[in-house]
Symmetry: C2
Subunit: 99 residues, 2 copies
DNA sequence: AAAATACATTGACGGACATCTATGCGTGTG
DNA sequence: CACACGCATAGATGTCCGTCAATGTATTTT
């Protein structure tokens, strides 16, 4: 994962609502209407956030009838976790910054 | 680390220049003037970015004479890595999304 | 002391962003 | 078929963000 993609992901996660959405999806696939219940935003605003999360590759959308089911994309999440995990405050010493 | 702080960190890392700064600091402490050489931005703009990175706790500044030395904050970085690492696409199964 | 260096602050500006209301579109349900 | 439901899109609006030029403040060098 290059810096550009990582910055895009960070930007997507930089909104408190979107970060909370990702945390909810971390518990498993959910449809939009259930996500909406967890927030105090309008439906178009949620749709806007889901679009951003999907466009950066972090979230997958699956249409089923009139429902859209959202889930975290495994590959993107793994790549992002690796990218963040590679950061180090000490040049990679053991026992430092969670390594 | 709560969602608010994590979102702040993500927001700080959401700018390509700031993400690159963090990557440079991941290689060890650096002063502002050396960081500036790596970018095509003006000095006030770099100063602005460093302020944001410091205010969210991700970067520490150490003044020494006329130089400011910047480095990644170990505790904040560790907490952030743990926060991101806790995200899961499958509810925490082994071998999934980098776990 | 004068000049140069490193950095922060201020003020301004254009673009991006989060949010809303209104509306459209497809899918079930009566 | 008509209506309700889930979701996306369009357009508008106020706010935040990244950037710059100009300037200020220490500190070091000459």
């Amino acid at each position: 994962m290059n810096e550009i993609d990582a910055a895009l992901l960070c930007r997507a996660l930089g909104d408190p609502n979107r970060l909370k959405i990702v945390q909810l999806l971390s518990g498993g696939e959910k449809c939009g209407c259930r996500l909406l219940e967890a927030f105090e935003i309008t439906q178009p605003t949620l749709s806007h956030h889901m679009r951003i999360l999907c466009e950066c590759g972090l979230v997958d959308a699956r249409k089923e009838g009139k429902w859209s089911h959202y889930s975290l994309n495994c590959a993107t999440l793994a790549a992002f976790k690796a990218f963040i995990g590679d950061l180090s405050c000490c040049g990679g010493e053991r026992g430092c910054c969670g390594e």
